[in-house]
Symmetry: C2
Subunit: 547 residues, 2 copies
């Protein structure tokens, strides 16, 4: 029916920060597909040639030089075809670096724009690297159609609506490197809808996929009609290629509504998988305590990588209960993963007796608890060193937020899988996983996490009859307070009004504040919420602000 005689090739790819050669090869291969399908445009995600975010690599002259070298290779690549390569790269002009998009056709740059809105909040530091041209984006005319290109944040900004007269556009194409967080896709959709309704045209949203350090990119690139409905969509979390033929009437596909817990579970898998892959790890291991955090961590691990590459260790002391051991073994048996027991009891005793004269008559306290946790850390790290295996840290966000964890003890590890997952969410994820099996899972079984692990009372087992609730409020309460104080940055008054006691809130704030030094030294872990405890939240260690 001849609407727009334009065929787009959407290349949702997983590239790696710094690996310009490797990324070029990925894009080149995909571009050849686009050419072979006679597409008009080959669209790549934001900064996919360099990987995103390249951070201070962008301040290196040699890095920028290499980008330029591969830009020329891409110019060459396009020389014998009409397919336009939409390449997002940093460009240098008058000592300023811009976050640019170049449209390259037949060996020439036929159009270029620079990102206007440079996010410098949350995990983003784009004003550290880039300069904004502060220009209103115009449009590119192709086959007499007006196509507007936007780079990520440029779609989100309300400045657009302020600055921009209502030009009649035919198509908007937004290229992104938009990190996953729970609920983020809904936001993206809402902003895209606002934009299409304003411009009365269709919109293509392309996102990158994979992960980089703490950021996970969930893909899910889509094509939206001018009424704000998503008509086509690429996979979440996986590489894919999609052709959008705007000349044809595109039937709305049925888009499966995705559950937030499912997305979260998959996000954690993708974060873990990519971190291992991109940092050269084949093997991973962890300490199993019999508790729920290490259980969920092992389940995700087992769903993500081959069982034969995973090992788990049960490291009991005299404070470990028989139930913990049974639960740990039951879990690992369910998952087909070997568990090795290494008792810390003998060295704990030896070390205690050696320190006794130095500690004099001081009574036992947190010191002795931390020693146990740190002995486990030593053993797990020795296994990491000896077998070149990535130690997965199993602590959750609630613990880390209040400092209910041992620095250099259970905080040891190269990747902290649940770093941004509150304890109550850990429970929900276990429950969800026990009931659900996805194609992506390596373990095709339900009920992999023993019920006992989910129902028993949380304990660190660092002394007899210890319970988390000795020190912390029940997690249902704690997590709500943390969510207010941390994720929403709320005040004492606001938090109290939500139904919590003043003393509890003040105590929690103090715990958050006093454990900042621990988080400063915590291992990296995937951001899955809007306020992770890594780059999202930059609090001073030295801080005398009391609620």
């Amino acid at each position: 029916m001849g609407r727009l005689d334009i065929k787009l090739f959407i290349s949702q790819k997983n590239t790696t920060v710094g690996d310009i050669e490797g990324n070029f090869e990925i894009l080149k291969k995909s571009f050849k597909n686009a050419v072979s399908k006679n597409c008009d445009f080959f669209i790549t995600p934001e900064l996919s040639l360099t990987g995103y975010p390249a951070q201070d690599l962008l301040l290196r002259e040699d890095f920028l030089k290499k980008i330029n070298f591969f830009k020329k290779k891409i110019l060459d690549l396009t020389s014998k075809t009409k397919t336009i390569f939409a390449l997002s790269i940093p460009t240098l002009s008058n000592d300023s670096t811009f976050n640019s998009l170049l449209l390259i056709q037949s060996g020439k740059i036929v159009y270029s724009i620079q990102k206007n809105e440079l996010p410098n909040y949350g995990v983003f530091d784009e004003r550290r690297y880039f300069v904004s041209p502060n220009q209103v984006n115009e449009y590119f005319v192709y086959k007499k159609k007006k196509i507007q290109f936007l780079i990520c944040e440029d779609m989100w900004s309300d400045n657009f609506f302020k600055k921009k007269s209502n030009i009649k556009l035919d198509l908007i194409i937004v290229i992104n490197a938009s990190p996953f967080e729970t609920g983020k896709f809904t936001l993206r959709k809402a902003f895209a809808k606002k934009r299409v309704q304003h411009s009365e045209c269709e919109l293509v949203y392309i996102n990158t996929v994979g992960s980089q350090d703490d950021l996970i990119f969930d893909g899910g690139s889509f094509f939206m009609n001018k009424y704000g409905n998503i008509i086509l969509q690429e996979k979440f979390f996986d590489e894919s290629e999609m052709i959008i033929d705007l000349d044809k009437k595109i039937e709305k596909i049925k888009i499966k509504k995705v559950d937030d817990l499912e997305l979260l579970y998959r996000a954690l898998m993708v974060g873990l998988k990519n971190y291992m892959l991109k940092n050269g790890f084949t093997f991973a291991h962890l300490g199993l305590s019999g508790g729920i955090d290490s259980a969920l961590t092992l389940a995700i691990l087992a769903d993500t990588i081959e069982s034969k590459n995973i090992s788990s260790f049960f490291l009991p002391s005299k404070f470990s209960s028989i139930q913990s051991k049974e639960d740990a073994y039951k879990l690992s048996t369910n998952l087909g993963i070997k568990t090795t027991e290494i008792s810390i009891e003998m060295i704990r005793k030896k070390l205690s007796s050696q320190l006794k004269p130095i500690f004099k008559n001081l009574k036992e306290d947190i010191t002795e608890e931390n020693i146990q946790s740190r002995l486990r850390g030593i053993i797990l790290m020795a296994l990491s060193n000896k077998f070149n295996s990535l130690l997965i840290t199993t602590g959750n966000k609630s613990e880390l937020a209040v400092g209910y964890s041992t620095l250099y003890g259970d905080m040891c590890g190269g990747y902290s899988l649940l770093k941004d997952v509150y304890k109550t969410k850990v429970f929900e994820l276990c429950d969800w996983r026990n009931k659900n099996i996805l194609n992506e899972f390596k373990i095709k079984k339900n009920n992999i996490i023993p019920e006992e692990i989910i129902t028993k009372e949380p304990t660190a087992e660092l002394r007899y009859n210890q319970k988390d609730s000795d020190i912390l409020p029940p997690y249902k309460i704690l997590d709500k307070i943390l969510s207010l104080l941390i994720d929403e940055n709320r005040s004492l008054d606001f938090t109290i009004k939500k139904g919590f006691s003043k003393n509890t809130v003040k105590k929690i704030w103090k715990m958050i504040k006093n454990s900042e030094f621990k988080r400063y030294q915590s291992s990296i872990g995937p951001k899955v919420s809007r306020m992770s405890l890594s780059a999202d939240r930059r609090f001073p260690i030295t801080n005398k602000f009391d609620l």
Copy 2:
């Protein structure tokens, strides 16, 4: 001789992030001095009421509310005097936060400006918090004189010269929170000189003092004449108050030229002292290896806090030499600090034999070395827990840059004193300290660091006959390469041209890259160079960019 009938009170104070009440009391007391001396202006450093940098506290509504509350108290404070309170605070307007300076007189704001140039490079993230008004600063007219106020970076910017017509000013007052680094004072002077020569007037530069987390503020506020000469200067690193009576002819005082090593040594003392003070630590301790890093660390510690609050521990294994022990004890005897020996040999052996069946027939490697380092870490952290003593990390910048250190081992600690000091600089500092005694030092002796410690070959003593040079190039070469690759961000070609072999440079780059995960988890330590390994340098852990 009646030049300018204006008397300035320069209040160079040490305030604490978040402690708005406490900071208010400091400023209030100082303001009363200014009033009692009939000063026209009471000048405070940039953001001294909140402490600098307050980081994400600035994103909290309750924090901004509290600032506003104390702003009102300051308005009240000025109600019965003519002395103008120059108050630097964040102000909120239309949902945007500005880094502002308010001139408050007799209970009213008589003038205000906002910081234009918001640094967002190096350790700075000001565009995360503040909006720039993008306005050319005018001037405040007082007693018919034109006084221009600038906030920190506004003095540094060349935009000033571009935008600004050459208005004849009578005085420039620059308020700052400018972090120390070696050579920074020379830069400040140069920029101030450029400014006075452009405006043909005198300039007052006020800097804050003390430290906040990794940043050290060195004070050294000064008064510069219109020829670019410093006429008056406040102390470096200490709180002080100074009156500048512009009505009188000010005789140029003799300003002692300060040695860079002296400033560096004092900066480390100030960083340490403030970190302990502001985080509530009275006691500090460390592990003495007999090597030069822990020796310098202990010397600085002993010069800074009371010997009775310091303890040191010698933690030998079978690989520790007799000389190491002798050197360690000789040093601590020199400093009057008790050293306790706790051998790790027994638990090392126990743990090794326990891990033997798990490690099977794999030969000894870095694993066994790390175990030793981590056992020391456990013991030192246990002492920290039991005695509420701050464990000082003793590693240097060269080690940390190439990852020649054990995560959760010698990297354990709450404050990493030499984190930004290259090994060759460690030698220079030892040499300097042995020859110099300052008033500030608690230990009034020369030659406190035994010559043997300085002259012997560096070794970690984690296996027999180990030398740092087994793996690393000599430190004189290594540090030059690191300085090029890290501090100057130079390329392979540039570095090779400076006279280093391609293989060595490539190897060092790989080591830097592969140890990013360790630095990510390293303890905080004072920035003393232009490129510290903390907030200055933000490199991805996952990074495939090869030189």
